[in-house]
Assembly symmetry: C2
Homo-oligomer: 275 residues x 2
Amino acid sequence: MTRIVCRQLAPRVGELGPNSELSVQAVREAVARRADVVVLPELVTSGYVFESKEEAASMAITPDHELFSFWADAAGGKAVVVGGFCEEGADGLLYNSAALVDPSGLVAVYRKVHLWDREKLWFEPGSDPPPVIDTHVGRIGLLICYDVEFPEMTRMLGLAGAELVTVPTNWPLGPRPQGEHPPEVVVAMAAARINRMFIACCDRTGTERGQQWTAGTSLIDEAGWVIATADDDGWAIADVDLAATRSKTLTELADLHGDRRPELYGRIAAPSQPV
Amino acid sequence: MTRIVCRQLAPRVGELGPNSELSVQAVREAVARRADVVVLPELVTSGYVFESKEEAASMAITPDHELFSFWADAAGGKAVVVGGFCEEGADGLLYNSAALVDPSGLVAVYRKVHLWDREKLWFEPGSDPPPVIDTHVGRIGLLICYDVEFPEMTRMLGLAGAELVTVPTNWPLGPRPQGEHPPEVVVAMAAARINRMFIACCDRTGTERGQQWTAGTSLIDEAGWVIATADDDGWAIADVDLAATRSKTLTELADLHGDRRPELYGRIAAPSQPV
């Protein structure tokens, strides 16, 4: 079994040092709870509600920043860590990025492809599709927040064999009917079910410059059901069998991926006439 | 407002005449309840759990069958009717099809593209993408059951401007955690939200040759929430504003369809290497 641990945190905008320390401490505590995979929120180092591009730039770090060695050290020779950060690219532009770190150090950086709302004022959208990374604990795909609401993205990762998709998020709180999951979780549940893969969404909590957050951290199993949400201290923990994702066959005659009809997809471009 | 009415029925396998009469009566009663759109289950004329291709063939009808004029007559000069039937094609093959009928008669036939499980033993899969039809009540897309679990299909319909997707279904009952919607409904909720369109899934009820059905009929609004399920008599009714689907803009800087990055989709074909 693989233990997935999400830690829902409340970073404070503008406080790069304390936020970084908070994230390292979260990794350390997650490993103490025997995590194999630790997932942290989006932009955990910087906070989210920037007032200007300059403010975002003042909190940006590069992939060679010491933070990622601290995460690797905290991983205790064992865990894979995924978390979001405000990235300064070699091109001088800012990206909303996620890092995957293992005990050897930084393994991959993914730049969010679908920027939500005012993120477009500070960040450049990523120009590469999301990675799928063979780690020592399993095959992990990376997305960030709004990305998960594009089924093209989750499908790509599913077809590439992702066993677990990790999704650092900052979900602004919106209204929802009583008893329902946050809407973004509903979308992630659907993606998990139809691709038969685990999805770990690690949200943030707290209120930032008036913005309330959903605190909707959810671990979703390969059948599409929520198996853990954050407890009062922000921990969501589940032990899962990642190997359960390797076959997409549901019955002798049904296969979630084999039943696709890609030759028919995308052919409707405008309203069609009646046959 | 547009009144959508699903009527969850219990057709009996092998009884084409009584099932057809049941479906016509359902349309008549739906129109008495002021339906603008009536949705009936998948294979409502034939039942579902066939024992052989020959048995399915014995219940197949062609698109010029009088049933569709009966539906049109029952539509009372007003409603659009969508329902499933076992179709005999001009090619002599059997299809799991849905008809869209308006007061003038048959407008469109769609053949299910994604056959579920043992349907593959009797039916030929459809070779055309699903239609989007401009009716006098709005722009309606057609899918059948398992089709809705392929986000490629719902995305195609959304991009083609479907305001309402009608989904005749026969959902076999499976386990689910207490308090959760049927898993197929979760997938439809996600598709409705991310494409900002209404989805009307009309399921069947009863037990057929030992197969229990979910009876999961659900009307889903353009934000992805279930707004009606079947009452004890099998009626699910909702009044909706189909025009609410015409803009995909959520904020000044966010647009559900405009934010797509199609140039990046589908580029991962195999597990990628770490960057």
